[in-house]
C-alpha cells in the first residue's frame, strides 16, 4: 500500500526541500521504494539538494504533456536502492500542470513506489493546489518564528479545506540554547498554537549547509544531529514509536567551568 505525502509550509526557506530529500533518502535506506517529486515548477531545487542536477533529461511537465514516458523522466539515485527523483521544469510556469494531471501522475507513481514525497512550492497559489491534489497525507514544516508559524497555520487551514486530514508537523531549525534562554519559541509553544500532531523536531545544524553544498542528504551522516532527527522522523513514518530527540544542550567546557566557579 503506497502513500503519497506532500511536504509543505506556506513560507519559503523553512526547509521543505531539505526535508523532502532527507526523508526520501531515509526511507530508501530502509529499503522502501521512494520517489521524490519536485512540484516547484519554475524554481526547481530538489535536484540540486540531491546532487542530481546534471542528470536531468526530462521533467514533470514533459511527463504530463506526454513528451516522454514516466520512466524516462525518473532519475535513479545510484547511492540508494530504489530512490528516484522526478524533477520540476525550470523554464515553465506553475500552470503548466493542473490538479487533475497531478492526481493522475500520483496514481501512476503509486503503482511503482511505496512512498511518493512531493516537495511543494512556497505560497498558497496554483503550485500549492497542484502539489496537494493527489496526496493522502501532508507534512507541514515550520521554524520557530512568528511569520513561519503563521503561514503554517494558514496552510493547515487550506489542507483541511482540501480534505487532506490530520497533517503532521515538523519543527525545523530549533536552537535549544536559545529556547533555554527564553529567546526562541519552544516546540510546546508552536504545538499549542497549531494544534496538530508532531512528527519531529530538527535542530538547527551546520551539517545541513555542508551536506546541501555537497548534494548529499545528511540523513546518512551518523555524526549529524539534524541527520539523527531525520532518521528518527523516517522511522516514525514507518510506524515505529521513536521518542522526540533530546534537545537539551550537552554541557560544553564553558558551562562546566561556569558551574565550577558557580557563575
Amino acid at each position: 500500500m503506497s502513500e503519497v505525502y506532500v511536504i509543505t509550509s506556506g513560507k519559503g526557506g523553512v526547509g521543505k526541500t531539505t526535508t523532502t530529500a532527507n526523508l526520501g533518502a531515509g526511507l530508501a535506506v530502509h529499503d522502501k521504494r521512494v520517489v521524490l517529486v519536485d512540484a516547484d515548477i519554475g524554481l526547481r531545487n530538489l535536484d540540486v539538494v540531491m546532487g542530481l542536477e546534471n542528470r536531468i533529461v526530462y521533467d514533470i511537465v514533459d511527463v504530463v504533456d506526454g513528451n516522454c514516458r514516466l520512466k524516462q523522466a525518473l532519475i535513479k539515485d545510484k547511492r540508494y536502492n530504489n530512490l528516484c527523483l522526478l524533477p520540476a521544469a525550470q523554464t515553465k510556469e506553475k500552470d503548466a500542470v493542473n490538479p487533475e494531471q497531478m492526481q493522475k501522475l500520483c496514481d501512476a507513481l503509486r503503482d511503482e513506489f511505496d512512498y511518493v514525497l512531493i516537495d511543494c512550492p512556497a505560497g498558497i497559489e496554483q503550485g500549492f493546489k497542484n502539489a496537494i491534489s493527489g496526496v493522502d497525507k501532508a507534512i507541514v514544516i515550520t521554524t520557530p518564528e512568528v511569520s513561519a508559524v503563521r503561514d503554517a497555520d494558514r496552510i493547515i487551514g487550506l489542507l483541511e479545506a482540501a480534505e487532506v486530514r490530520n497533517p503532521l508537523l515538523i519543527l525545523n531549525r530549533i536552537r535549544p540554547d536559545m529556547v533555554k534562554r527564553g529567546d526562541m519559541m519552544a516546540l510546546e509553544d508552536v504545538t499549542e498554537i497549531l494544534a496538530i500532531d508532531v512528527l519531529g523536531v530538527v535542530p538547527d545544524d551546520e551539517s545541513i549547509v555542508i551536506s546541501t553544498n555537497r548534494g548529499e542528504p545528511c540523513v546518512t551522516d551518523q555524526e549529524s544531529r539534524a541527520g539523527q532527527a531525520f532518521r528518527n522522523i523516517t522511522r516514525r513514518l514507518l510506524g515505529e514509536t521513536v521518542p522526540l530527540m533530546d534537545l537539551s544542550i550537552d554541557d560544553g567546557i564553558m558551562s562546566k567551568l561556569k558551574k565550577v566557579f558557580k557563575l
Partner: protein, 92 residues
C-alpha cells in the same frame, strides 16, 4: 544595582513571539481583516446611535486579548465615548 533583576523583569522574546502569534492567528482565523472590522464599527455606530449620541472620531474598536489564569482569550475591545443619551420614543 540589580542588573539581573532588571533584565529578568523584561518579557522574554519567546513569550513576546508567542503572544504576537496568538493575536495574529485570532485575526487570521476569524478573517477579521481591517475591512471587516471597519464594517463592524459602522454597524455598531448605527446600533448605538439609536439610543445614544456618541463621539465617532474618538471611538476605537480592536481585537485584543485578556489574560485569564489558564490562557489568553481574544476580546472585542470597544471604547466609545458617549456625548449624550437620546430620548427613546416609546420608553417611559
Amino acid at each position: 544595582m540589580d542588573l539581573l533583576g532588571l533584565i529578568k523583569s523584561q518579557p522574554q522574546p519567546r513569550d513576546i513571539a508567542r503572544d504576537r502569534l496568538k493575536l495574529l492567528l485570532i485575526h487570521d482565523r476569524s478573517n477579521c481583516s481591517p475591512h471587516v472590522l471597519e464594517m463592524l464599527k459602522t454597524d455598531i455606530i448605527n446600533a448605538i446611535s439609536n439610543y445614544m449620541e456618541i463621539d465617532e472620531t474618538d471611538m476605537e474598536i480592536q481585537i485584543a486579548q485578556t489574560d485569564t489564569e489558564e490562557s489568553s482569550v481574544p476580546v472585542l475591545f470597544a471604547n466609545i465615548p458617549i456625548k449624550g443619551v437620546r430620548k427613546v420614543p416609546g420608553k417611559v
